[in-house]
Symmetry: C2
Subunit: 212 residues, 2 copies
């Protein structure tokens, strides 16, 4: 069955790969599944046709026959369960990979989202100069813990998994802030993710749209 | 095999059920699995023995034989996959329930965490009075979308699932703010979750510890 995902007609980041369709493209490339892309304008995101696919009016969505999914994490998990390449075969290792998936989106990404909001939505507010260091320290706190766990390992728990895919994707949002460079093993970890051929194909595919 | 979870020796909320062990207790009660609880002090959360179980020094953790899991979402998913009661049997409906699990922790909870941080970590800052309405509006934006999707349905997608368990748990954090009461169908949805016998048993179990 044809897989169709949605992506921004024009990504707010201009093609840096930070829009969430890149995470799904990367997963599709890792498991070797072809896919179609339907581009959506900002205005169309809020229209009933798209809200029927994603109640929060976001991209990406995932359509495969009768199945409609939203939320990047669940789409990546769906692909990882059905195709080889994103989950280890051992059941316990697979359950631990899922712990890392949720850690990426629920323990590491929330303080990063706060930082993004502080810059983009509140950057013109009078409290920004004083508040930004506090927000950055909340991110640092998580990165310190993640860095300690990763140590000198290549990936978070043995072989590359969907957990690494989401964690690297979440950490990539920090590059512009400079925070990632404060943790050399995390910066190297992210670079290892970006060096994967599947990531490069995913990145190039979104760039081809946004560079037009 | 015996299941052992960790919980706060003394919860910061004094037993209101907002600590994340309640989510795991609720899932265990829904699927009818007995469990042991190991209580952890705030100081012990940061010690190597606990960080080995949860790299972010949080509760809950989940131990079952050789398997160690962290992140509430992954623990609930693990239980839902192995025992009847939290996932529909149809494969597509199950994938959609997982979309709602991720929606709860990655689309709805982040703005709620910002609100919690604004109150608890920044409540004494000079910007609080002016900033709080902005933070609340970000929560309202998500609630408006969720309320529109839920409509007059009992649960998010057919029968009660692990997606509802996490969504109700996330929304419960809003009760004190009054925001939940602005959306009558969401308030009723949360009340339906709390009325489930499994939730009540989970709530009472954590209260019994915190009321001591």
């Amino acid at each position: 069955m044809t897989i169709t995902i949605t992506a921004f007609e024009r990504s707010p980041d201009g093609g840096k790969g930070l829009a969430r369709d890149t995470r799904v493209r990367w997963a599709l490339e890792e498991v070797g599944q072809p896919y179609d892309v339907r581009l959506v304008s900002f205005r169309a995101l809020k229209e009933p046709e798209h809200v029927a696919l994603n109640p929060f009016g976001q991209i990406p969505t995932y359509e495969e026959g009768d199945l409609v999914l939203f939320e990047t994490g669940s789409i990546v998990l769906h692909l990882a369960e059905r195709h080889a390449g994103l989950f280890p075969s051992d059941a316990n290792a697979r359950a631990r990979a899922i712990s890392w998936m949720f850690a990426a989106v629920n323990s590491v990404e929330p303080p990063i989202l706060e930082l993004v909001n502080a810059k983009i939505l509140e950057g013109d507010k009078p409290w920004t100069d004083e508040r930004m260091p506090i927000v950055k320290d909340r991110v640092r706190s998580r990165l310190t813990q993640l860095s300690a766990r990763l140590g000198s390992s290549e990936w978070l728990d043995g072989v590359f998994s969907a957990g690494d895919l989401l964690m690297v994707s979440v950490l990539l949002r920090l590059r512009a802030s400079g925070l990632l460079d404060e943790f050399s093993n995390l910066a190297a970890y992210v670079a290892r993710g970006e060096a994967r051929p599947a990531y490069k194909r995913a990145f190039d595919a979104q760039l081809a749209i946004n560079a037009r």
